[in-house]
Structures are given as C-alpha cells and as structure tokens.
Symmetry: C2
Subunit: 354 residues, 2 copies
DNA sequence: TTGTACGCGTTATCAG
DNA sequence: CTGATAACGCGTACAA
C-alpha cells in the first residue's frame, strides 16, 4: 500500500493513521518511553504503510548536530584522492555520518566559499585533503566553530591536526630491503626536490645507508620530474656514469616504470643486475611493469580512515593538533629479486641493525 | 570583534545586538521589504561582527527544498570516477547545490541503505554513477520521491534517465581517422566482450569499414583483458598471424600501451609501419606511451556536467527518461602518423563518405 | 518602517 | 501508558 510517490510523509500523518498523537509515534518508532506493545505495532504498521522516513533536517535542527562532515578537496581530484576519499567515506559512512563533497580546485576563493557553505549547512567537522604533503595555509583565518583535520596535506598552523604518510620511514623501508637483498651500490631516482616528500624519502634512505656504513655519493641521486620519460632519462644517465649500480630506489612507480623500460632495453636485467623499488604501490602501474615492481605503499586508504576517526574524536571533544605520520609498508614483487640476507625491511625501528 | 568561536549565532542574537526584531534582521539580510537604509546597515554590521551564518537546515525545513543532491557511486571508485565526480560537483557547486558522497562499493544492501539515508536527508535528487555502461538494476523498487539520473551507467528501467558515452560513435571516429590516414588493413585489440562498450566500439568500427568497403576479418579482432599484458600478447599474435596489418585500434589506452611496447620491441615502427589508436584518452598513459598515443576521449567530465544539468531540469519538473549518448572526440597524438588524406574523423555524421 | 506570530518536522518534557 | 506543548532557527504574512 506504500504510496511512495512522496516521502513528504510527516509524523502527523502517521499519527493520524495510527490514531495516536505525534509524541506516541516518536516514542514507538524510537523505542523510547513505556508504550503498550499493541500500540507500538500499530504505529509501526502505519509508518510502514505510509513509507514514513523521519526527516534528518528536523532532527538536526533540534539536536544541534547534523551527523554530516565536509570533505574539502583543496587541490582538485588526483589519483591519491580515490583511496583517501574511500577510506574517509568508509569510516564515516559506517558511523551513519554523511559526507559533503567540495572540490576547491586549488582556488583559495572557491575554498573560502565552500567553508562558508559547509558551516551554513552546520557540518560537525571538516576534513581537508590535498595531493602533496607540503605545508599549506589553513582554511580558516580565525577559529572555526567545528574541528578540522588535514589529511595527506599539512596545515602550516601547528594548532591544526595534520595526517601524513611517513615518507622518511618509507625511504628507510626501501633502503633496508635493498640492503637485505645484498645490494650495496644504490642509486635514487626521484621527483622535484621542491616536494617535501622527495626530500624526506631521500633522507630516510640516507639514514639507513649511513647506519650501515654504505656510501651514497651525490652523483647517484637524480631528481627530476614525476614522469616515465624522466625515469628513462635518469636510468640512461646512471648507466653511463655509474654502470656499477646494483639497485635503484625510485621516488614513484611512474619513474620506476621508466627506469625499468630503459634498463630492459639496454640489456640490463632486473632484478639480477639491478634491483628496483618504487614508491606509491600504484597497483595498475606496479603490476604492468616488467618485472612487476616492488614498491612502498603509503596506505592512503588507511590514512583516510584514521583522518575520519581523528575527526570523530575531535567532535567528541578531544583536542588534537600537530602532525601525525602514518607508517608506510613494503610490498615485495619481482623487481627486487630474492632474498640473500634475512629481510629486515618490515621492522620499523630506525635503529635496527643490519 | 568577531568571536568566531561558535557559529551557533542565531538570528535572535543579531536582532538583539542591532536593537531590532528578528523579522527585521531577516529582511535586512535578504533585501526583502522596505527598510530604512540606516537600519539595514546596522543589522549588517551586527551580523558581520557576530559572524552570523544563516542555518541552511532551518531554511530547508521551511522551504521544503534542501539544495543538496546525493552522488551514489554504486560500483566503488574507479579511475573514471574522478572526472565524472569533478564534472558533477562543478556543475552543481556553481549552482549553490551541495553534494552528498556515497560509495556503495557494489553492494546492493549498502546501496539501499544509502538511498534511504539520502531520502531522510531530503536531497532534491540523486545521481547514480558506475564504472561500466552495461544495464544495471535501478536503485528503487518503487517510485522515488526525487528524480534520479544514471551517469556512466545504465538503468535497466526505460523510465529512468541514463547518460552514456557513445561508444559506437567512438569506434567510428577511430575507424574514420585510420582510414583517413590511408590505412586499410586494420585490427582491433579490445577488452572482454561481456562489456557492452567493447561490443559497441567494435560495431562502430565495423560500420565505417563496411561503408568504405574495407574488410575486417574476424581473425583481426582480438578480445581479451583490460591489461597491458593482453595488449602485448595480442600484438604478438597479430604479428605472427597477420603481419600485413597497418593499423590497430585498441579498446583502451592500457591495451594500446601493451601493443605499442610489443611492436617496438619487435622492431615494428609506430606509426610508420602500424598506426595505433587507443580509447579513454587517459592522459598519463597516452602521454607516456612511445610514441604518444592518439586516443578516443569520452569526455567523461562533460558527461558529469550534463548529468548534473539533467538532474536540475528534472528537479525543476521536467520529465526525462531513456538513454542519452554523449559524443566522443578524437585526440590526435603521434601514434597514428601524419595525414595522407583529408581527415574526416571529426565529423559525426555516420553516413559521411570517405 | 518595524514588530509579532506562525509554520516547517521532530524530540523531549511534563501533565494527565 | 499516552497526549499536549515547547523548542530548534529561519522566513514571511500580517498587524501595528
């Protein structure tokens, strides 16, 4: 008998049909108060027949909370936005919280517009995401009435909470893995040094090599673009200037793909002659590389989930701030060869001896 | 003097500070009624100082419209979701409409849950997106109280409105382009035939070749996976069984990438010996292919924009239904060589002579 | 020109 | 056990 033509059915109509008052309907449907079982059943039947769906709008107005949050993608949608958004939406959706999507496309004005819009919709909190980890100006000049979390981007204000992958530790993972594979003459082909991630990954790499007493001359660090073409170019340069290199850690899987292609076409075997490790663990890219690429995974979906949980904690009243780094993990495929030593790469303690 | 600590400023507090009544505040801020200029200014100043932001919740409750829509990604987030979502969000955000993001991850139960959630939030409409164009069951058993548009997916109900790329026309574009380049011995390497898109692209290709009197034996149609590995395998098979092929139209850029790699490694020159056209125009993939890949662009962002506009029309009362196909366009790069004939590929008329 | 009161849909409180 | 009523924040007729 469900009409369905309009969900504009109100609690009054349910009350009428059930022959009770609105208060009774509310109690019956929400299990509050003491009601006769027969009454509850009658109300439920009426609600079902009418296709009654309580208005979250009215509830929100009353309770002062909307159970909605804003997702402000400040820097347009990139590849990382997919797992990040998935993680956030997953963690929030399970908790019955709806997500408002806002893409500011890197425009400050648009961003401010969205912040005001979200506040006017009375969101309980805001998650800001980006596609780089470098510090950025906060979305608010003054204190906002709701908590904010920065995910995969960093607010330049230390009062804000920012969640980032641990690029330093990711670089360490790669370094330990390659050392454990018996490699000693490493090279690093990476992206533009203006990226904080580029600098931190290199530092992580270097820290492990230093501890192990393995040298890494500056001539074996090549910084360029985030492209396959750069990977090919850098690999070519390495082959001619540092032909004794036995392992290459790349700043991204895209770069690694270019490196792999160049090596293969130059007759260098991967991983026999040169072991290869990428960064990002971009499945479609890592799997298509020949041979399949060992890579560092930033677990971005997990980072999104954590961001959601942190925001919920702040909504509950917790005062969180500062930068929180989420550990990367190593995903081993064929490009880094078989183990020649015990592989310590999964240990997180930077002081772990080799 | 903006406190900013709480946006919970109501119209009453503004009225108090300005020394007027709430009705006057409303009129002053919305420009309704006849108010003394001095009063308007005083109210505006009070609102500004208090950081007053009218509650959309209260407004929505009153006016019966929320200016929100639900974006139901039924089939999880894929690569196509990025431009699609961008287009939708762009077209809607400009119209001051907020978007609720819901990812059902291909789960029917979760999808139903989200539909109910969206209705309880009183969205004005729903856009359903997917990652394949094959017909799917509608999200509703009975009539919904709000309009629904299916974007990059098709509802199996003819009463619903579905927006799809014109894969048939896309196949025609590729065929005309290759013919215009002087190629006559074409091959087609594509994805699984269970995809409607695969069948339609092939039919488009075939229709143009038939019209031109160019043969396309079944042995030159190879259907497999959406992977580079399949592209390489298929290219290898083509080289041994149909070595005289002078052009390959691929069902996706990924496949085309595999084909290009295999050809190059076999010493076949692209485009001199074999011209190559992909599908999807996935920038990062097309640009990294050697040589850069000519491809068919489905203009998914435009499709998203159109979906948003259609939904708005339906919200305004228009009754739309059926399947609407959006034209693809050709993006020429190096892999298809230079023109040898006048290039008619951009013409949309299927009956255009060669 | 400005103030008052009602209604939007729901829940909670208190009276019956 | 159930019903009436206030309250949430806003816009808008209508009254002053």
């Amino acid at each position: 008998m469900a009409d369905g033509s309009m969900s504009r059915v109100t609690i009054f109509e349910v009350a009428d049909l059930a022959g009770v008052s609105v208060g009774t309907v509310s109690k019956a449907l929400n299990g509050r108060g003491q009601l006769r079982a027969e009454t509850v059943e009658r109300v439920r039947a009426a609600a079902r027949d009418l296709g009654f769906e309580p208005s979250e709008l009215a509830k929100s107005l009353l309770r002062g909370r909307t159970f909605t949050v804003g997702l402000l993608t400040s820097d347009s949608f990139g590849r990382f936005s997919i797992p990040l958004t998935s993680g956030i939406e997953d963690a929030l959706g399970a908790g019955q919280i709806s997500v408002f999507l806002c893409d500011a496309r890197g425009d400050r004005v648009r961003e401010q517009h969205y912040v005001r819009s979200l506040l006017s919709r009375r969101v309980d909190g805001i998650i800001v995401t980006g596609r780089r980890t470098d510090p950025r100006a906060p979305i608010n000049d003054e204190r906002l009435p709701v908590p904010v979390v920065y995910a995969y981007c960093q607010s330049s204000s230390p009062d804000d909470l920012s969640l980032l992958p641990d690029d330093y530790q990711g670089g360490q993972l790669a370094a330990r893995h390659l050392l454990a594979r018996g490699r000693r003459r490493l090279a690093h082909v990476t992206g533009p040094v203006r990226f904080a991630a580029v600098r931190e990954r290199e530092q992580g790499l270097r820290s492990v090599l230093d501890t192990a007493g393995v040298e890494l001359p500056a001539s074996r660090i090549l910084a360029g673009e985030w492209t396959e073409a750069w990977g090919r170019e850098a690999a070519g340069a390495l082959l001619s200037q540092n032909p004794d290199v036995d392992a290459i850690f790349c700043g991204s899987d895209i770069i690694a793909r270019g490196v792999a292609d160049e090596l293969r076409e130059a007759g260098i075997r991967v991983p026999e002659d040169v072991a290869l490790v990428g960064f990002d663990n971009w499945e479609i890219m890592a799997a298509a590389t020949r041979p399949p690429l060992t890579s560092i995974d930033m677990n971005i979906e997990g980072l999104g989930k954590t961001a959601a949980h942190r925001l919920l904690a702040m909504i509950r009243g917790d005062a969180l701030s500062g930068v929180e780094r989420m550990p990367c993990r190593l995903v081993v495929r064929d490009s880094s060869g078989v183990s020649t030593l015990r592989d310590l790469s999964t240990e997180h303690d930077p002081s772990a001896s080799l």
